[in-house]
């Protein structure tokens, strides 16, 4: 359906210069709040910090922007904490009268550029801002998940909480530059704070053994769980050939998934903002339609766009 939001067109937000990554919605009566992650210009060393923010779209016309958040929705962490240099991406969910946020917090390392763990925040103002309840992560490293816990997607099915996320497996060197390999994982919780990891890759690899997978976006539809995600090659992935594509899998129990990318039903365009790569899908139902937000070229440097599921039956 085309591009919805282009961060390069935004003025008067010093913390938003480029990128609008990893869209995620919170639906209100008359508008749809879309969270995304963005960056101010890089510092003198070429390094970015990242923030999460939102844009409110007219519920009846998702291409009409009503407003943009005045500030980032989460503060960066204190000196030496896991989220000192970034809070990206973010996934939100309503619970009682609050909105809960799970986000990836970024720190900088010496031998590799960064490490990531998953943090938690609570909003009491309908998701305009979130407060952390501790300085540390809510989901952290473990024996088989040594680094880069990122890309959280929070879901609640029945009385149980599910966190889909990615975990780093290894860093490989691509022409001397460290590049992370990560896969899709899941944890369960009774309270949203204490998590039991499944300690298992959910999605088999396709393009290569070191395929990197991200954005595990899960929903329930017609008696089954469906997951859209994105994947890429381990090296040279910043161009079209080895860049991100959107994959698909389904499951009856949230634990065992069958990958079948042929059913994803979305590919890169012939030309334009999403002709080189498509990534970070987020699927949601709204007014008897099923939509997908996703990122285009350069992993969302130029914003996100919208697609609609054909032949959707609510």
């Amino acid at each position: 359906m085309g591009r919805v939001f282009n961060p390069l067109e935004i003025k008067n937000r010093s913390w938003l210069k480029e990128f609008a990554q990893a869209p995620c919605v919170l639906i209100f009566d008359d508008f749809v709040r879309v969270y995304f992650s963005c960056r101010p210009p890089a510092d003198e060393k070429g390094q970015y910090v990242s923030y999460s923010a939102y844009v409110d779209l007219n519920r009846n016309n998702l291409f009409e922007i009503l407003r943009l958040s005045e500030t980032p929705v989460l503060q960066l962490g204190k000196l030496g904490t896991f989220d000192e240099f970034g809070t990206y991406p973010i996934s939100v969910i309503r619970h009682n009268n609050e909105v809960l946020a799970y986000y990836a917090g970024w720190t900088r390392c010496e031998s590799v550029p960064f490490n990531v763990a998953i943090g938690f925040g609570i909003s009491k103002n309908d998701g305009q801002t979130f407060d952390k309840i501790g300085d540390g992560p809510v989901l952290s490293y473990s024996i088989d998940e040594p680094f880069i816990l990122s890309g959280p997607k929070i879901r609640r099915f029945g009385n149980k909480w599910y966190l889909f996320y990615i975990a780093g497996k290894k860093w490989i060197l691509d022409n001397g530059k460290p590049e992370p390999v990560y896969t899709i994982r899941m944890a369960e919780s009774d309270d949203g704070l204490n998590w039991v990891k499944q300690n298992k890759d959910l999605i088999t690899y396709k393009v290569e053994e070191n395929e990197a997978q991200a954005s595990p976006d899960v929903f329930f539809y017609q008696g089954k769980y469906h997951m859209f995600f994105c994947y890429r090659h381990s090296a040279n992935y910043r161009g079209k050939e080895k860049g991100y594509r959107i994959g698909y899998a389904c499951s009856d129990d949230l634990k065992n998934w069958i990958r079948d990318d042929s059913k994803a039903g979305i590919e890169v365009s012939e030309d334009g903002w999403d002709a080189e790569m498509i990534s970070y899908p987020h699927v949601f139902e709204l007014d008897n339609e099923m939509y997908m937000f996703y990122l285009g070229n350069q992993v969302g440097k130029h914003g996100f766009g919208l697609a609609k599921l054909e032949n959707y039956q609510p």
Binding site: G80, T107, R108, G136, V138, I143, F147
Partner: protein, 320 residues
């Protein structure tokens, strides 16, 4: 408690250690065999690329009266971690526990950061060759930062008491900006976790079990615990958060606490029974204590001045 000091036990400069390590024998910890005692320690070499130190584990075997070194390790005891892992830049310290014919090693892995110097987590490795080498059970940690323990989890010491594994360890509360021009300084405290299998741990989450003696920025490190009769005794080291490297008034010394239930600890430094010497290798600093039993005697290993650059010493408990 009353200890009789027996002096400097091991000087690393006198031995050929693996990995080209020449100085430092820090945080000595033991594995007691029938006819000798293996003492593990962390030693260092300079990283040729960065000019920074890397800590490696080595050991020395002693006779049971600690009169001579029988052997030192020839192989690397445990590999440092791969690119981007929690123990890529050093393992210091290592704590060894023999339990049900298995030999566990709880490691403190170091990895370097940009805005602060370092982050740490606790790893687990197992030996199948009587403690000569250890193999990690995975590339990640068994205990690391969490919601209310945001950083610097490490210095784990594990014992099996009353039907479960107990771990005493430290966690970082915050990094503070010291004086202008000085790098950020860390503040850490002693905590406790339990486990049924030694692998999966339950923290008490940000519960500091040893009260501060100096001030709220007191840094507490390296807890070591022993049960004598019905009482548990803990030694640890503590210091001021800043200006601690060369100023003996602010540097590491030994602290002491006791508990009868493993829940409530009574800090009682006045009864630690050991203090700085008037002169010599432990006259300005005492740190990284380790208590162990050998035959019917209880010993304390510790480092002295300059964080153990010259090696470690030993003391024997004379009254409990």
């Amino acid at each position: 408690m009353k200890w009789q000091k027996k002096g400097l036990l091991f000087e690393p400069a006198k031995y050929d250690l693996p990995n080209g390590c020449t100085a430092f024998a820090q945080s000595p910890q033991t594995l007691v065999f029938d006819d000798f005692v293996r003492i593990y320690f962390s030693t260092r070499k300079m990283d040729a690329v960065t000019g920074k130190y890397l800590s490696f584990i080595a050991f020395a075997d002693f006779d049971k009266n600690f009169t001579k070194v029988l052997a030192t390790s020839v192989k690397n005891v445990i590999e440092l971690g791969g690119l981007g892992t929690f123990d890529e830049h050093g393992i210091f310290p290592i704590n060894i526990l023999r339990h049900n014919n298995k030999i566990f090693a709880y490691t403190c892995g170091w990895s370097r950061r940009v805005s602060v110097s370092v982050e740490t987590s606790t790893g687990l490795a197992i030996s199948e060759d009587e403690g000569v080498t250890f193999k990690k059970i995975g590339t990640g940690p068994v205990l690391t930062c969490s919601l209310h323990e945001p950083m610097l989890v490490g210095d784990s010491f594990v014992q099996f008491y009353e039907g479960q594994f107990h771990m005493w360890y430290i966690f970082g509360k915050r990094w503070i900006t010291a004086h202008a021009g000085e790098p950020p300084a860390r503040v850490y405290k002693i905590a406790h976790a339990t486990s049924a299998d030694g692998v999966n741990w339950q923290k008490e989450e940000s519960k500091q079990i040893i009260t501060d003696y100096l001030n709220e920025d007191e840094c507490q490190a390296l807890p070591t615990v022993i049960k004598i009769d019905k009482r548990y005794h803990m030694y640890f080291c503590f210091r001021e958060a800043t200006d601690f490297r060369t100023n003996p008034a602010r540097g590491y010394r030994l602290g002491y606490a006791w508990s009868d239930d493993l829940v409530i600890w009574k800090r009682d430094d006045a009864n630690s029974g050991i203090a700085f010497s008037d002169k010599g290798w432990d006259s300005e600093m005492m740190c990284y204590p380790h208590i162990f039993q050998c035959d019917d005697k209880v010993y304390l290993l510790y480092n002295g001045n300059e964080f153990g650059k010259q090696g470690f010493g030993i003391a024997e408990l004379v009254t409990g």
